[in-house]
């Protein structure tokens, strides 16, 4: 027997996924092109920013976070902040030795 709680599901149309795929492939090719021309220190930043945008699309649409219980997106943000904090603190340590 199913409960109402288990029935609440958002059906995402196929075309939404195809649009997201097109955006993701476009971003991948942009990232490849950008890093082939030398932008110096900006290269790393550009590649990581594009990877960040791609991840946001995957998390929000493919992983349904946009349509799920808000608890999930908050938890994901928490984990990303935790990782960012650990990376920042470790690098601060190494850069100032």
């Amino acid at each position: 027997m199913k409960t109402d709680e288990n029935e609440k599901h958002h059906i995402i149309p196929y075309r939404t996924f195809l649009y997201v795929l097109a955006i993701l492939i476009l971003l991948t090719l942009t990232s490849v092109t950008l890093t082939q021309i030398s932008l110096g220190a900006f290269t790393v930043a550009a590649a990581l920013i594009i990877a960040g945008i791609k991840s946001t699309f995957v998390l929000a649409i493919f992983m349904h976070l946009k349509f799920e219980n808000k608890m999930f997106s908050r938890a994901v943000c928490g984990v990303i902040l935790l990782l960012a904090a650990v990376i920042t603190i470790t690098l601060l340590d190494y850069l100032n030795r």
Binding site: I12, F17, T28, A51, S55, F72, V79, L83
Partner: protein, 202 residues
């Protein structure tokens, strides 16, 4: 089934459990990304030159293969929700084939490195210096661990596909399909960062 029997199910809890597991995976790879950043900072020239030896073409092809496979597994959920079992199984089959294609590319990529005697513990690699050893050590470990996740994801999706075929998972009860999809997307997410870090930033 006995009419008085109530099947207890909690999809929210099931999905929460899956997400908690995915968080541990993110922290696992996150730790490796920190190691990569620090080693790269300490060996900028060796990392710069070693990254040039990786094939951007194969890397890009594998990225696009994984992105398409993520799309097909996401679409398979929509197919099952709208009671289109055939399309759902077809999309899952395509996902599995794309995952295998990724592994085949990886096999040729690693094979080429091995022929040049570049692998962890190789004496030829050791002669090239500390930075190269660190770069390729991380490269083989991180892409290897990722490939292992691809294999696990493929088995997970295959098991779920069999359950869908036998109607144990259907349009009323598909949280396991969603969970296998979440795992597959995580594998895609990790690759989204591995690809620029090893192949693009030179």
């Amino acid at each position: 089934m006995n009419m008085n029997m109530v099947t207890h199910r909690d999809d929210l809890a099931s999905k929460t459990g899956m997400w908690l597991f995915l968080f541990t995976e993110l922290l696992l790879f996150g730790g490796l990304f920190i190691v990569y950043s620090v080693y790269r900072y300490r060996n900028p020239i060796a990392f710069h030159q070693a990254a040039h030896e990786l094939s951007v073409v194969i890397g890009t092809a594998n990225t696009i293969i994984l992105l398409i496979s993520s799309t097909t597994i996401a679409m398979s959920i929509t197919a099952l929700q709208t009671k289109n079992k055939k399309l759902c199984l077809l999309l899952m089959g395509v996902t599995i084939l794309l995952g295998l294609a990724f592994l085949v590319n990886k096999y040729f990529e690693w094979g080429a490195h091995f022929r040049e005697h570049i692998y962890p513990g190789s004496s030829v690699l050791a002669l090239r210096g500390h930075g190269d050893v660190l770069f390729y050590g991380l490269y083989f470990f991180m892409t290897g661990l990722h490939a292992l996740h691809i294999i696990v994801g493929l088995v997970f999706i295959l098991v779920i596909a069999v359950s869908i075929f036998k109607d144990r998972i259907n349009s009323e009860n598909y949280v396991l399909l969603e969970n296998s999809g979440l795992y597959w997307h995580l594998v895609d997410l990790i690759w989204i960062f591995l690809f620029p870090l090893f192949y693009l930033i030179t």
